[in-house]
Structures are given as structure tokens and as C-alpha cells.
């Protein structure tokens, strides 16, 4: 899909490249935040968690920068067709990635809360779930930069694995709580962690939908979904 020839006005290309670079940087930060918050949780390392929380400010600042640049491009360059779709997509993607950062920050905040609790068996499933969501974020931003609609569809399909993970963890944590009420506080925190990861998967899927729209000009059809996350009905 990528157009090989540049714009007659070179500064327009520079603006668009800057916008892509900012989005890619946001993606990198969000991906790192997911991995780092999970590592902090597994190692019960409050110092590492604090760094994740502090770093979230960078994502917020980048989102503001993307908004500023996107509005400037619309006002000064009057983008059309795929350029216009890309700028609109970038605006929405920046908001979504910023939210992904917030979910990672929320995971980091729970590190302190489970301090001192005994061994948490279900914790062993979370890093794999975090790895998949981190990969989704990585893939979907690659897809954005490359305007690759196929890759965007792959990301959507991966979300099913995340939902399955969440459903499985939900049941495991419930069992864990029933075994011993003393586990309830820690298990509830882990349930929120799992929920955060599940939401990150959903946001990555929304980003994928925007990437697909930017690349093709059409909206991704209502895809077949996996089993809905439990506890909703």
C-alpha cells in the first residue's frame, strides 16, 4: 500500500514522517511499560514498578505532541485520501496507545499492594499473557508504519488468545480465592492485572482497526470474536 513517490512539497513528507516516528516511539514506550510492569510484579520489585509509573508521563507528553502535529498537518497541508486517513488514524492511535500505557502503569501500581502476600500460583500465567499483549502492540505499530493491512488483521486474530487467557485466569483466580479466603486481596489484584492485560489486547485490536482503515480506506468487518470475557453477562 505504501506509496513510493513523495509529495511535491517535501515538507509535507517530513511532517508525516515525524508523525509516524512519534507514534512508533509511543508504541515502543508502551511495549516496554507492559514488559517492565510485569517483571516488577513477578519479582515484587517496587523500585522497578516506580520507574514504570514515572515513565508514563513520557507517553502522555508524546500523545499531546501527536495531537499538535496532526492538527497542524490538517490545518496547513489539507491532507487528502490516504494521507488524510493516516493523520486521522494517528490521532486515534495516539489516544489508544496512551491508554495502553495507563493500563501498564496500573499493573505497576499493584506491585506494592501484593507485597508481603504468600506465594501466588496464578501469577505464573500472567507473564505469558503480558508477552502476547506486548507482541500485539509491537506488531500493530509495525503495521501502522508499514501501512500493512494484513499484519493488522493478524493482530486482531491474536486478541482471541488474550481473551482465552483472561477467561482461564478468571476461573483459576476464583478457585484460588475459594481455597483460602486469605488469598482474596492478592487474587483480586491479580484479577485486575489480568483484566488490564485483556484491555491492552482490546486496545491493540482497536489500533489494528485504525491501521486497516488508514491502509485500505474501508473498515474491518465485524470479525468473529472468541468467547466473551467472563463475568459480563
Amino acid at each position: 500500500m505504501a506509496t513510493t513517490t513523495g509529495h511535491t512539497i517535501k515538507a509535507f513528507d517530513q511532517d508525516l514522517n515525524q508523525l509516524r516516528a512519534n507514534i512508533a516511539e509511543m508504541g515502543g514506550l508502551a511495549e516496554a511499560a507492559i514488559a517492565d510492569s510485569m517483571r516488577a510484579l513477578v519479582r515484587r520489585d517496587p523500585d522497578a514498578a516506580r520507574i514504570v509509573i514515572e515513565n508514563d508521563a513520557k507517553l502522555d507528553a508524546l500523545e499531546v505532541e501527536v495531537e499538535r502535529l496532526a492538527v497542524q498537518i490538517i490545518a496547513l497541508r489539507a491532507p487528502m485520501a490516504d494521507d488524510l486517513r493516516e493523520v486521522v488514524a494517528a490521532l486515534k492511535i495516539a489516544g489508544l496507545v496512551e491508554r495502553i500505557g495507563d493500563y501498564a502503569k496500573n499493573i505497576a501500581k499493584r506491585v506494592h499492594a501484593i507485597e508481603g502476600s504468600s506465594e501466588l500460583r496464578p501469577l505464573s500465567l500472567l507473564p505469558e499473557m503480558a508477552r502476547i499483549t506486548g507482541e500485539m502492540v509491537h506488531m500493530v505499530l509495525d503495521a501502522f508504519v508499514q501501512r500493512d493491512s494484513k499484519k493488522a488483521v493478524e493482530v486482531c486474530e491474536r486478541d482471541r488468545a488474550v481473551d482465552d487467557f483472561y477467561n482461564s485466569l478468571f476461573r483459576t483466580l476464583l478457585t484460588f480465592m475459594m481455597e483460602d479466603p486469605q488469598n482474596i486481596t492478592a487474587a483480586t489484584h491479580l484479577l485486575f492485572v489480568a483484566k488490564n492485560l485483556e484491555r491492552i489486547g482490546d486496545h491493540a485490536t482497536n489500533v489494528a482497526e485504525m491501521v486497516y482503515f488508514a491502509a485500505t480506506g474501508t473498515h474491518l468487518g465485524e470479525r468473529e470474536r472468541g468467547e466473551d470475557p467472563v463475568g459480563l453477562s
Binding site: T3, G6, H7, T8, I9, M80, A81, D82
Partner: protein, 268 residues
């Protein structure tokens, strides 16, 4: 199978009940040079149609075939069929003067006659015998100037010269002059390229108001203008009609690479 599918250019439109004008396999030659190559297009009554494309792409040449303005160029030749309400406008029986009353034209530079404002508008109805007397003519002049959005500005000085008006007013006077003979189609060849942004906005608003009453075709270099005033856009390139579709689609999701390169500013 409908007519749309026989067209060579990428065309995506809802079919009209009956197009106002149709062109089929139209080619235009200036001597041996082919300026337009086999263009087929429908012009609808309900929509404003914009022709866009780089200089020399043939959009103005094609526009001029729609009321036989090319007849005035000695070595120009038109092949193919152009119909107005199903009637071949190149048929020997077609009265060209009558045709140009039915298919009016507004040009790039405002060109009022060096006569009074009143006479500029009254001239057409008079030669076509549309008014029975002075009061009928007054009514035609008033209504035409009103429709052209100029009445309030000139009603107290109808005897002043048309050339004394500002550029934007002159252009609206030319539109009033075209309207006065009750045309069915109005062709506009870059009607705003000599006007400032405010005069341009007034003409664009006028086009919007005239839509539906007349079939309007506008040639413009200004893509933003095409996006603002038209419901359908045709992209011409090197004498070909490349793509024709709903304006909102053409500017957000063109199907042909050449269209996309042009409207996003990657052309050339």
C-alpha cells in the same frame, strides 16, 4: 447490464434515473493531436459535477464539447456521441445558438459586456425573445440577479456599467446573464480563479444554491474547491477520464493510483 459498466474509467456512482447529459466515447482532436481520448461520462441534474486534473489534461476541452464551444476553433474535431436529454447535440439539425442557451457557460475571467448591469442580463432573453414587454424583462432581470445573489448589491444602480463592478460581482453578473435565458445546464470553467477568497466563497455558496435547479459542471484547478462545491468528481489526466465518483469517496478513498497521487500532491 447498465451503461455505467460500459465506461472505461473507474466509475463508482449510484445510477441516476435519467442523466441530464451523457457523453459516450468522446475524443477531441486539435488537428492531428488527440486532446481527449474516448471519454464516457454522465452528468446528473441533481448533482454538481467537478472536473479536476493537472493543466493540459483536457478537462476544459471536454467541458467545451458539452455546448459545442469547440466549434469556434478551426481545426478542432469531436468524435463520439454527446446527448442532452437523449438528443444528440452534434446532430446537423441541432441549432447551436439554441443549444448554448440551454447549456450556458461561465468563464474564468468575468467578461460582462461593456453595457449597463441591466443590459448585461437582458441581452440574452431579448435575442431569444423570452420577454413580451418591458415589465416582463424587468422581472427576468430581477429574478436572475436575485438567483445570482447580486440583486441586493446592484438594485439601485442597474444602469451603471457592468464593468464598473468588482471582480466577484462581475462574475455573479455573468452567472445572472447565463441564468436569464433559463438554461438547463451551466458549465463553469474555473469561475473563481481570478477572484479573492471572499468573492470565491460567495460564488461557491451560489453554486450550492443553484444546485438542483440546473445541472452544474465546474472545472477547477483548486481541489479544495471541487471538494467543497461538488457531489461528484471526475479526474482527468493526459486526455483520459481516469476516475469518476462521489466527491466524498474520491477525496478520502480514490481507487486509482493516479487519482490518489494527484489529489494528495504527489503528481509529477
Amino acid at each position: 447490464m447498465n451503461d455505467m459498466q460500459t465506461m472505461t474509467a473507474e466509475t463508482r456512482l449510484s445510477n441516476d434515473a435519467a442523466p441530464k447529459m451523457t457523453a459516450r466515447d468522446v475524443s477531441v482532436y486539435y488537428g492531428a493531436k488527440k486532446a481527449i481520448d474516448c471519454v464516457s461520462i454522465d452528468v446528473s441534474q441533481e448533482h454538481v459535477t467537478a472536473f479536476i486534473g493537472p493543466s493540459g489534461c483536457g478537462k476544459s476541452t471536454f467541458l467545451r464539447t458539452l455546448n459545442r464551444m469547440n466549434d469556434t476553433i478551426a481545426n478542432a474535431r469531436v468524435d463520439g456521441a454527446i446527448e442532452l436529454d437523449g438528443e444528440n447535440i452534434y446532430a446537423p439539425s441541432m441549432d447551436v445558438v439554441q443549444l448554448r442557451a440551454r447549456v450556458g457557460m461561465v468563464f474564468q475571467k468575468p467578461n460582462p459586456f461593456p453595457k449597463s448591469i441591466y443590459e448585461n442580463v437582458a441581452y440574452g432573453p431579448r435575442i431569444h425573445g423570452l420577454a413580451a414587454g418591458r415589465s416582463e424583462m424587468d422581472a427576468i432581470v430581477e429574478q436572475s440577479l436575485k438567483r445570482a445573489g447580486l440583486w441586493e448589491e446592484v438594485k439601485d444602480r442597474l444602469q451603471e456599467s457592468g464593468t464598473a463592478l468588482s471582480g466577484g460581482q462581475q462574475q455573479r453578473l455573468c452567472i445572472a446573464r447565463a441564468i436569464a435565458v433559463e438554461p438547463e445546464v451551466i458549465l463553469m470553467d474555473e469561475p473563481c480563479s481570478a477572484l479573492d477568497p471572499i468573492a470565491t466563497a460567495k460564488i461557491e455558496e451560489l453554486i450550492h444554491e443553484l444546485r438542483g435547479r440546473y445541472a452544474i459542471v465546474i472545472v477547477t484547478h483548486n481541489m479544495q474547491q471541487a471538494a467543497r462545491v461538488s457531489q461528484r468528481t471526475a479526474f482527468f489526466h493526459l486526455g483520459n477520464l481516469v476516475e469518476y465518483g462521489e466527491t466524498s469517496e474520491i477525496f478520502t478513498n480514490p481507487r486509482v493510483e493516479r487519482t490518489k497521487d494527484y489529489i494528495t500532491g504527489r503528481y509529477g
